[in-house]
């Protein structure tokens, strides 16, 4: 019986071993467990090698391509498929975004680079080196593919490490890393993604033309876009990356990974291509109530006794600040406060979930609280299906105070769902500019403010902040107060034109 060496096994795997030799190899393999192991090890090596090469960072790939006499440059935007002959896609799973009925036909487009051979019913045979195919819910994408969402279309991509990527409309995303690796990496060419990564499932990296974001177990959004105005000047169009952290902490780096900053929950950082990352929004206060005791009032808050307490959110392993329903005293609101009376020019953001009777439900964030003067409120009122910006004016002990509605808009949301309320306040010479927005937890933050008002009375110019609820069960979580960072003039200048 012939002794098969590594060269024979390599030839077999390459498909270069003659048929009669394969017959002999087959017979030998039946009786030789060591040869079977050797072949498995070699096959594993051959199978992993393209993936490992592909996992090299774009920087490494760039340096390799620069060495190439052929002069072909690889940029992160042009990643070849590792198996040009292979069919179909194996990076993660794309599903249709459930809340968008217009997406019945196609949720996203995927572009594969290389000569693919497709056999699925929805995929045409093409000979062009670049092809587009419409994806439907449940389709798989593989490393090297590019996923595009057109206008008025969104998609959710599930990676194998349980990371969930929600793609906004007009977004282009490339799967740089294969789905089987612990460190999943995607390249965001343009648009915006909202990422939800699970703890304990390895790192997740988002790269853009301006820099990268590295995380393990958090929720954050990344937007990549061209820096407006530069094209007009005829210079190189630079990419700008905006990172907003909704939970946990992420590390933001420039493209060369020479400078990095840690960005915490509630904060926002921006990186302009060829520049260092900088924070544009800084957190003044953040509380997720995880350090507090169940059933007790949270430590850093001033509360109405017995009405507010830390609770668990159902069966979820998550502590929240809860207003406990009190059926006796309906139609009365209660609030709790935190922060500093000297705070001004800030935004308040928190997650809120209303669980009680829809006729009486109201959840709100409050700001600029001065006990003797009043405060501002941004509320979602489920009974009237409205969001309202209003001001409470404190009165004397005898007369009490009154509410002034500054602005009001219709808004409907299902009870029992987490939604995010955000109120921004800016002191201007003409008075206080109030802006509010509200969105579902599973959606990206809207770019524009939903509701706006200008209070010219100038009676409130700063103060404490907090949450407010009617006497129905309402949960609050991830309360965050942040302010715009000043002094970063270079960065501010960069955005002046765009904003």
């Amino acid at each position: 019986m012939k002794n098969f060496n590594d060269t024979d096994l390599a030839n077999y795997l390459e498909g270069a071993l003659p048929a009669d030799e394969i017959g002999r190899l087959d017979e030998t393999l039946k009786h030789d467990p060591q040869l079977r192991k050797n072949l498995l090890v070699l096959a594993g090596f051959e199978a992993e090698l393209p993936i490992a090469l592909q996992e090299m960072s774009p920087g490494e790939l760039q340096s390799l391509s620069e060495e190439s006499p052929a002069g072909r440059k690889l940029t992160p935007r042009v990643v070849s498929a590792p198996h040009p002959r292979s069919s179909r896609i194996m990076f993660g799973r794309v599903i249709r975004y459930a809340g968008w009925p217009a997406l019945a036909a196609a949720a996203a487009l995927i572009i594969g680079i290389g000569l693919f051979r497709f056999s699925g019913p929805l995929i045409q045979r093409l000979t062009s080196p670049i092809m587009r195919i419409a994806l439907i819910e449940g389709d798989y994408v593989r490393s090297g593919n590019r996923i595009q969402t057109p206008a008025r279309s969104r998609a959710i991509v599930y990676l194998k490490n349980a990371t969930e990527i929600k793609m906004a409309e007009n977004t282009t995303l490339e799967a740089l890393m294969p789905w089987n690796n612990a460190r999943q990496t995607v390249f965001l060419a343009k648009g915006e993604i909202l990422n939800n990564t699970a703890k304990g499932n390895g790192a997740f990296v988002v790269r853009t033309g301006a820099g990268s974001v590295r995380v393990t177990g958090t929720r954050f959004s990344v937007r990549a876009e061209s820096l407006a105005g530069e094209r007009m000047k005829g210079s190189k169009e630079r990419t700008v990356m905006t990172v907003k952290v909704l939970e946990g902490q992420v590390k933001v780096e420039d493209v060369a990974a020479t400078a990095s900053i840690m960005v915490n929950c509630g904060e926002e950082a921006k990186v302009v291509e060829d520049s260092q990352p900088g924070k544009t929004i800084k957190t003044l206060f953040y509380d997720d109530f995880e350090e507090d005791e169940i059933g007790k009032v949270p430590q850093r808050w001033q509360l109405a006794p017995k009405l507010w307490a830390v609770r668990m959110d159902g069966n979820m392993d998550n502590k929240v600040l809860a207003m406990v329903a009190n059926k006796q005293i309906r139609n009365i609101a209660s609030f709790c406060l935190t922060g500093n009376s000297g705070w001004s020019n800030y935004s308040v953001q928190c997650r809120a979930k209303m669980l009680g009777d829809e006729k009486h439900l109201m959840a709100a964030v409050i700001a600029y609280d001065r006990k003797d003067k009043g405060f501002y409120i941004f509320s979602h009122d489920a009974s009237t299906e409205e969001i309202v910006l209003k001001k409470y004016r404190a009165g004397s002990q005898k007369s009490g105070g009154d509410y002034v509605v500054l602005s009001c808009r219709p808004h409907r949301a299902s009870n029992g769902q987490w939604q995010i309320l955000k109120l921004g306040l800016t002191n201007t010479p003409e008075g206080i500019l109030l802006r509010g927005k509200i969105w579902q937890e599973n959606e990206s933050e809207p770019k524009e403010w939903t509701i706006e008002a200008h209070d010219k009375e100038n009676s409130l110019s700063g103060g404490e902040c907090g949450v407010m609820s009617s006497m129905e069960t309402t949960y609050f979580d991830d309360f965050c107060v942040s302010t715009t960072v000043s002094g970063n003039d270079d960065l501010a200048d960069s955005f002046k034109e765009r904003d």
Partner: protein, 180 residues
Amino acid sequence: MENPSKNSMNETLLRHYVNEDAVVRAYVRSCTMGHRETDDVLQEIWKVVCVKIGQYDESRPFRAWVMGIARMQVLKWRQTQARSREVLSPETIELFAETAMEHGDELDFRRQHLRECLSRIPALGRQIMRLKYFDGLTIATIGLQMKKSTAAIEMALVRFRRFLRACIEKQLVEERLSTS
């Protein structure tokens, strides 16, 4: 609203499959040789795993379960090649599944060490390997691009692959020594 039980099932699936991917990949590659169907078979396995994950009993080893599916899919592919002489027999394919299950952990270790070793090979080696495995060029095309003979490229690939394998073996030995 997404079904939470479906979500947790997906998470179970993802967690397990990531761990066993190396062994499944090596097994399929061993049995399907240089055939282009390797990726198709892997894809079919993943699809069946997704569909059948609800039937998986968590008290039993995931590797055995997923390898059962892999074996069936490879044998199914083997049936389509029944007339070909250039494939392994069903008996050998079954034996390979057993060997893969036995050495699954080692295959996973090797996969991890490969990444580290790859960074140690010279720039020329990485360049040739990139053109071959990443860009998918033939050895002849690489030779033309690099103005070298086909034999020289072939030899370089053999040499660098050998270097990588030796590096991985060394890492495995060091790991064994450090844990013993």
